[in-house]
Symmetry: C2
Subunit: 403 residues, 2 copies
């Protein structure tokens, strides 16, 4: 038996996590609250886009056939404003002033912008030699036909989608529900942010890092702290397993005397899918499931918790939302780097966009406890376990944490 | 005079917008509400990090000098738990079980993990040949000394920073205030999202696109609609100029008969800094200032409004927040593209990360009214005005709108 014992690889761990994905269901929200959510219906055009032959420059609308007969002066009959019913040209040798956004008046088929005409005593004089049919007219249905698919189900809603939703009148929209998540800290050395720690204590930070990260995915987790006492842990965890879709722990999964979590989870009927992964940081990661509840028990070190949440929870969430889970984000190593152990190494890097090429500058920090180093960097570069030397210029997947 | 007349270049326009930047001031928020905000104080270590010689593996703590004398069996005296005051080794030939996160017991200087020992009848037997001093001990102050700078003023707070804020006890944190923004639609052709438009009407969408975009920067804008009537416009805009730091318009800045905005803004004492920029889409962009209020009057076409907000408002906001305003985001054109007019062209593109190289695939759409095309893409590629031909493989700046 080699030193890594029963550890599984990062790839195996991720596959197991993904195969334990859940369906969160669908809910309806107001379209103004839908930014950042995942669309759960196809959005189709409710009518042609544009819905009418739409004037796209301010100017005069006329009939090109008359222009082509040599006429260059057109008496102005009327004004076609945006938001008004369509006018009809009374006499084909006249024109109608027409505003951007208005319907093209009946009997006309082109718009000449004000820049290219002069209007004197109610007559528009043209200073052009050529007019195209439908010039400066955004033709009805040019962009989209009625019932055309505008936004596909399973799209992440951004500002661009919000505008489309508004246009087609989707005031209420179907989006993926999000899992109900509990984030639990354990560890008697932890005190609250407001407290002054004794020399042997530290303030809770991992639960807040996780909370902040999950909020970027629109999840509003509930935070709990449970002391390192078996009975309290058992009792509280039992109720969390009932109430939540996800229970996320930070700490108490190593080999310590007070690392009760694996034992208690097992007693509570949680099926362990794996414990310990061939990676650094984050080796003691414990993952399991009980009925509808998924348990991510991350190691207690700050960097371990953070990288494991990015590497495992985020794809698990994406799978449940029916999004693509293959990581297509890569960056290029800016310096040679070596890492000896046969583990997948998550290297902290600063990202630089150099004229379209994403460079990753290593800044490893002092290991899994070095929280402050995270704040100096942008992402983890995932270096595979089957090699020790990583060369400048090679591309590797990244886990970006600034978005 | 060439056809572009008094238009200014995109570069000039951006410089003018940036020189009109404002200082939004500073406010205090709870650290849990600070994600996405800009930090307005330096964050320093309130004590050493780690604050004590911290056990980093579960196992036994012993004195290496005794190990080096050949001793391999150490009676276990006690257990040093995390969150408990520091124990002292009573007899140097003994050891103390020590848990991850605990203080290293006095009189010991290394930790041997459980994996490498066996404990029988209260005596730990070591299966190692060599022990380093401070092995598996995260030394006090190794990561940071007290008062070390952990996060610089003017950092965008992400999950990584949240953890650091928690660790150093910054329960309340100074962040940049955000401007109070009014988004105003005009245009009698516009109806609400809930309404069924008449054939000559369309639903309001630009204000919602802008609203969604600004929310990604933590701004909560107020939305207004004013009909195309001079008196109503004048009266309402006068009060918005008093109440808001930014008034953003969409529409009514072209040359149409009902494009009253430039005239009314001038009457209300707003100083025009420019009107019309050598760009497509978005040429009729009007920009001005009255005392503390900055006015962005974007053209009414959806794509024009969207790209102008990304290109001008976002850097203006960043400048006011004291962030870097130089655009370092580039992507590489995936296909040849040509664009004849002497205008800066904002080309819609899909972005692909191809092993660390950011490729921009053009998908121009049907012009500034083609809102649905935005939802098919990810960014605008900014193509300069001094050329007509843009070659596959060339890098250009991007304005990303999915983040």
């Amino acid at each position: 038996m080699n030193k890594t014992g029963t550890l599984i690889s990062v790839e195996e761990a991720l596959n197991i996590v993904l195969s334990a994905s859940a369906d969160f269901g669908v809910e309806e929200v107001g379209f103004k609250q839908s930014t950042g959510r995942i669309l759960k219906e196809d959005i189709r055009a409710d009518r042609e886009m544009p819905p009418f032959d739409r004037v796209s420059m301010d100017g005069i609308a006329l009939k090109t056939a008359v222009f082509n007969q040599g006429k260059r002066s057109f008496p102005v009959e009327n004004i076609q404003a945006a938001g008004r019913d369509q006018l009809t040209l009374g006499h084909e040798e006249n024109c109608i002033e027409a505003m951007t956004g208005a319907m093209l008046p009946k009997g006309t088929d082109a718009v000449i912008p004000y820049e290219l005409i002069s209007i004197k005593d109610g007559v528009a004089h043209l200073e052009v030699d050529h007019v195209d049919v439908y010039q400066n007219v955004h033709k009805k249905g040019l962009d989209q036909k009625k019932e055309d698919l505008l936004i596909k189900r399973n799209t992440l809603i951004s500002a661009a989608e919000t505008g489309v939703l508004a246009t087609v009148g989707k005031a209420v929209v179907k989006v993926a529900k999000l899992p109900k998540v509990a984030i639990v800290s354990t560890g008697d050395e932890l005190v609250d942010v407001n407290d002054t720690p004794a020399p042997f204590q530290i303030r809770k930070s991992n639960v807040h890092t996780l909370d902040s990260l999950l909020k970027r995915f629109m999840i509003e987790p509930d935070l709990f702290h449970i002391p390192d006492q078996k009975e309290q842990l058992r009792h509280k965890i039992a109720s969390l397993l009932e109430e939540y879709d996800v229970v996320m722990f930070s700490g108490a999964v190593s080999k310590g005397k007070f690392d009760y979590l694996p034992e208690i989870l097992s007693e509570l009927g949680v099926e362990k899918h794996f414990h310990r992964v061939r990676q650094r940081p984050g080796k003691p990661f414990w993952f399991g499931k009980k009925q509808h509840t998924t348990i991510f028990a991350f190691p207690g070190n700050p960097v371990s918790t953070f990288v494991s949440c990015l590497k495992y929870f985020v794809p698990w969430l994406r799978k449940g939302l029916e999004l693509d889970v293959s990581n297509k984000d890569f960056a290029i190593l800016a310096e040679d780097f070596s890492f000896k152990p046969e583990l997948t190494y998550f290297l902290q890097v600063k990202l630089l966009n150099e004229k379209g090429i994403l460079m990753a500058v290593p800044d490893a920090g002092n290991g899994s406890g070095d929280l402050a180093n995270l704040a100096q960097n942008d992402a983890f570069l995932e270096l595979p376990s089957d090699r020790n030397e990583f060369k400048k210029g090679e591309a590797f997947p990244i886990l970006h944490y600034r978005f």
